[in-house]
């Protein structure tokens, strides 16, 4: 959904991953945008990254006006992210205006105003030729000076100067409540045209960060809250634009085989390269086995296994039991196993860590076993967002992905994650137990294979010491018995 966009207000791309999507191109160019958030919501890093990306991507210098932390602390903090601010200062691409509070309060002897504020900011902007300006944060002066009228006057003049200077400005402001007034001290009246809110909401003991564009007068934007992550490396803030993701489908018609002839035959030769497949079934049906087949399906392709349920050693033992060459491929450097216990980190952190591992190894295929473990730690919404972001990332990277998920009901039936995940996947392989002539057998069916014809028959399969064997379709109409829904 977007608001009407009359001509006149151009946008300036921030360079912050995902922000251009939700802001329909970026911040209103040559104007000020209020960035409001509670303490610890990521305002300062968001603001700093606005400048960092300007320098890194467009060689556009920036000025950081700090009312809170002194420049030395900011340099140190962001040096830890790999942002060489001191270097940029030396090159004339970054300038601080240091309005951080003095340790000692000066004596007051008569009338005064904040007369050096504008000259210092204007000087810094002109000195580096800044196109971007960050003010962090606007309300601070209220806690330093008791004369509210004077502070109001100074803030009014400051924002008028920002407009006059023609820079694109991001002005942070503190909020006390996540869903209360826009900002403390009513500072939003000075920056009323565009407001972006950062939130951090606790879900159980997990923190969830979101960004919402409240308004952007005179130009369009996306509505609603979008999750974002704050990474501890140079990537910084990364916004996850949910609705943007279902747009791109794998364009490839190449296939990534399982290496099991019968299974590949069911999928018209293999999974589409760059597509996402969900293998769903109750405990013990063979989801992990199918995942392991996929992981070893093409010895010539780099393959990564992300394990959330079992340790790497257990996975190797399982694979050895099925005669699948995990250890051999690991020795060749064509397979990597990343085992992680989801309870140890927030979903957002898992996302960042997985992306890093994938960027370093550059696999052609990724197997995730299993998503069910992740579901335990996040709220449903957080889980869905995690999945969307992960799937989007894998797809963008052209990686063929197989994810497994558990269904607690032995006879099937939809569980939340299945419904959530199925809308994001190209192919679903369902595994079920079924009773046939008083014996429990395993059944398998390939559902919803985008972009190709697949065999929709429910087939019996067995697990052998050579891995999976897929047999003939069950006789008769076993659909209702199995609880399968034909796709």
């Amino acid at each position: 959904m977007t608001e009407g966009a009359p001509p006149g207000v151009g946008k300036l791309a921030t360079g912050i991953p995902g922000f251009e999507y939700i802001a329909d191109g970026g911040l209103p160019a040559g104007r000020a945008t209020l960035l409001a958030g509670s303490s610890g919501s990521g305002k300062s890093i968001f603001g700093a990254q606005f400048l960092v990306e300007g320098i890194r991507q467009w060689q556009q210098p920036g000025v950081f006006v700090t009312f809170e932390e002194p420049p030395g602390a900011i340099r140190d903090n962001f040096a830890a992210l790999g942002w060489p601010i001191a270097e940029w200062e030396a090159q004339g691409q970054w300038a601080f205006v240091d309005l951080s509070p003095d340790e000692e309060q000066p004596e007051i002897a008569g009338e005064f105003d904040l007369g050096a504020l504008l000259p210092r900011i204007e000087h810094a902007v002109q000195r580096v030729g800044a196109g971007r300006l960050v003010i962090d944060s606007l309300g601070t002066l209220y806690s330093q000076y008791s004369d509210r009228h004077m502070v109001r006057r100074a803030l009014g003049q400051l924002m008028a100067a920002v407009r006059r200077l023609g820079v694109t400005a991001l002005v942070t402001a503190e909020r006390l409540e996540e869903y209360g007034p826009v900002a403390r001290f009513d500072v939003e009246e000075f920056v009323a045209d565009a407001v972006v809110i950062l939130r951090q909401v606790l879900n159980g003991d997990k923190r969830r960060r979101t960004v919402e564009i409240l308004k952007m007068r005179g130009t369009s934007h996306q509505k609603g809250e979008y999750p974002f992550t704050v990474s501890t490396d140079a990537e910084g803030v990364s916004i996850i634009p949910l609705s943007a993701i279902e747009l791109n489908q794998p364009a490839s018609s190449e296939r990534a085989p399982f290496g099991v002839a019968e299974l590949d035959a069911l999928c018209a030769g293999g999974l589409l390269r760059g597509s996402v497949t969900l293998v769903a079934g109750p405990t013990g049906t063979g989801k992990s086995l199918i995942g392991a087949h996929f992981a070893t399906g093409d010895p010539g392709e780099r393959s990564m296994v992300i394990a959330f349920e079992e340790g790497a050693d257990q996975l190797r033992r399982n694979a050895a039991g099925w005669n699948l060459p995990f250890e051999g491929m690991e020795a060749d450097g064509t397979l990597q196993i990343h085992a992680a216990y989801p309870e140890t980190a927030a979903l957002e952190d898992h996302l960042v860590r997985l992306k890093k591992a994938i960027e370093a190894f550059r696999p052609g295929r990724v197997t995730i076993d299993s998503l069910s473990a992740l579901e335990r730690i996040g709220s449903d919404r957080g889980f869905r967002e995690f999945l969307i972001a992960l799937v989007a990332y894998l797809r963008e990277s052209g990686i063929t992905t197989v994810m497994t998920t558990n269904t607690s009901n032995l006879q099937g039936g939809g569980i939340a994650s299945e419904a959530q995940v199925s809308s994001m996947t190209d192919t679903i392989i369902l595994l079920r137990y079924t009773e046939q002539q008083a014996r429990i057998k395993r059944g398998l069916v390939v559902l919803k294979m985008r972009g190709s014809d697949q065999d929709k028959a429910v087939r019996e399969f067995t697990v052998t010491d050579r891995g999976i064997r897929v047999g003939e379709p069950f006789a008769g109409d076993s659909g209702s018995l199995l609880g399968f829904v034909r796709g």
């Binding site: 008569g110 050096a116 000087h123």
Partner: protein, 102 residues
């Protein structure tokens, strides 16, 4: 003996700037004649110096020497606060050899 080195930061030629300059000159001539150096900095002309010394409020009077650096803000109409803020009185008292005549 060591002189006070003082800097007065003002913003342009406003009445308040002028008032601060007048107040300060009068005080210095009356109490510290020959024992001070005063530089007046207009932050509109030299914003870099205001940045370097973290001056936000104007007028701001800074005592650079002797250390430690001390600051007073305002139009300096309150002479007692100026002396207190710059810790000028202590040295003056030392020179006059007493504390009870003020």
């Amino acid at each position: 003996m060591e002189k006070y080195r003082l800097k007065l930061y003002v913003t342009g030629r406003t009445p308040r700037s002028q008032q601060a300059i007048d107040n300060l000159r009068r005080l210095l001539e009356e109490e510290f004649a020959e024992r001070y150096e005063l530089e007046i900095v207009d932050v509109l002309e030299d914003p870099q110096q205001a940045e370097a010394h973290k001056v936000l409020a104007t007028p701001t009077l800074v005592r650079d020497l002797p250390p430690p650096v001390r600051r007073v803000i305002g139009d300096l109409s309150d002479r007692h606060q100026v002396l207190l803020g710059l810790d000028l009185q202590a040295l003056g008292e030392g020179d006059h050899g007493g504390t009870d005549h003020d």
